[in-house]
Amino acid sequence: MEIAVSRAGDIGEIAVIRVSGVVDSETVDRFGETINNVFADDCYNIVLDIDGLTYINTAGLSIIADAFKKASQNKGHLKILRAGEAIRELLDVVRFTKIIDIYEDEEEAIGSFK
């Protein structure tokens, strides 16, 4: 798993988290920590770029679900950017796609916070 955080928005109020590779039992903790670190910086507007994600286990899905809830509770949003076909199907299966917005375009995703 590769994971990186950058800031976007007029005053850097949006965190763009790019995760790629495999989120499984070995990497899922690091995935969770990375997101928690963003929250710890008092940032609750998150774009989760999963373009390069090839696998995510249920624990990883739980982290996304929890992050979505926590962001919403703190008047922020979690949006997903670019899900591959297999991951997209998985998000459908667990019905995340009914709740979390998925964007294909990064600018559009970032602009959606305004």
Binding site: D24, S25, T54, T58, S62, A65, I87, L90, R95
Partner: protein, 584 residues
Amino acid sequence: MSGERAEKPDNFSGSTAGLPVNGEFRRAGHVLDGSLDLDLRLNRVVEQAIELLSADRGSIMLLDKTGGELCVRASRGLKEPAEFSVRLGEGISGWVAKQGTPLVLNDAVAEERFKGINSNIVSALAVPLRVEGRVIGVLNVSSSSKGRYYDHVDLEYLSSFADMAAAAIENAQLYQALRRDQEHLSKELRMASRIQRSIVSTQMPCASIHMVSRLMPASAVGGDFFSVVPLSRDSRFCFYCSSQTQDRCQNLRSQSCPDKFGIMIGDVANKGMPAALIMSVLTTILYQAGQHLSSPRSILNEANAAFRRFFSESQYGFATLFYGFYDNTDNSLTYTKAGHEPPLLVHKRIGEIEYLEGEGFPVGLMEDGCYQEKTVKLERGDRILLYTDGVTGALNDRGEILGRKRLVELVKAHADQDIEAFLDALGDEVMLFSGDAPQPDDIAVMVLELEDLYDLTMTVGTDVKQIRYVIDSVLETLQGFEGLKDPITLRLCLEELLHNAMEHGNRGDVSKKVYITVKAGPRRVVIRVRDEGEGFDPEQIGSPQIGEPTLSERGRGLLIVRYYADELSFNREGNEATLVFSAG
């Protein structure tokens, strides 16, 4: 055409100028021989009659089926529509047909009976077409040429030709009727053939058994048959499983037992439709018996009794049969043979061929069939060739039979090919042997192979760090399995089950273990994950309602597994989950 009739024209030599000579008449007869097509023949008769009599027009009217009406069936030069018809006794033709007497008409317009017909006609001849004294129609020719009057010699001449023509027409009519009947019959046979093929079942419930088969009746339908008999997984009828297996079976979604099935091949004495009828009854008996009897021997006893009850009056008094139960759990085949050709068991590892022999009379022959039961074990790659005597009894053009010895040689020669190619090759060899000799008997062949299975058994401690290692090992084992369109599928399911086993089953107790077994054939993967926990009641695990948007973690794992796996079931104790993935 008979020589006698061809001679008749001799009487006419020296008659009216312009009449054809003997050779011409004979040729006319030959022309009629050409085709059995009725319309073509009728047209030729008219053409020949016109030519012979130097006429301008001609027609043939045939009596319809009721014999009450004459219809124009072929004509030349007529102005009337082709479907022109008259009632028997009406008009010239009707009169000729009714009286059976030929007519010469000169200055025809004046003739009272010539009502409504072309006023240009100067002279006409109308002769009955007779077969064995019975009138089948009328042949008419007429001329408009001034001064061309037909006389009684012409009439005799045309009558003689009409005798020949009538026989030719009758032949064509009979042929047409025969062909219609035959088409009807062959349509029925084609349907019967389709029905018979639908009786034969080749659905194989067992993942590790690959089966191919061919059914080639000598005619459209036949008395040879084979079938795979699925054994019901309903515990009321399932005598084959331990109670524990039954329990698991019922949690699975498919209806037939995935571990066991019946297999049969048989040959009803005689061929064609009678054999096919008996075959269909016998197949039904064997199917039914498979649902409530627990051994091949008892099934053949029942089939024997039923056969004798149903067909005691029949001259087709018996059938040879081979019936076996295959058990996937220990790769054994328990069988009973009723006078059937012994199937060949090809042992791959030791390269030997074993005849599956066994005592027993053909079904229907004796009150007590004296059936024996035997069991053989299969190893991976072993094949069983089941066949009927149409194979070993195949004849070549020198009248030699293929025989069992030659069959064994052929089997050995092609044993290295995969079973599809193996069966094709056997079929080709039998055809090659027979050459142009017609297939004398029905042929049924089926080949079963216990396929190479991927097999993996792993035991790991309760440590989530082991999960990736287990998954990688399984994925490596299953490389190339076509059922896994996307490894994410299996990975998700397996990870979920391993997590459950460790977290919920063993409750994180590091002293407890998790057992994983993977069995995979080319088209089916079965994965079992067992833990050492106290188990749970699968019924108690709720899943989110269908379509309900949720971020709740509860049941998400099972939701995923149920979505991606083809089957998911738990044992009674709730500490073993079975996942099944099927290709296609």
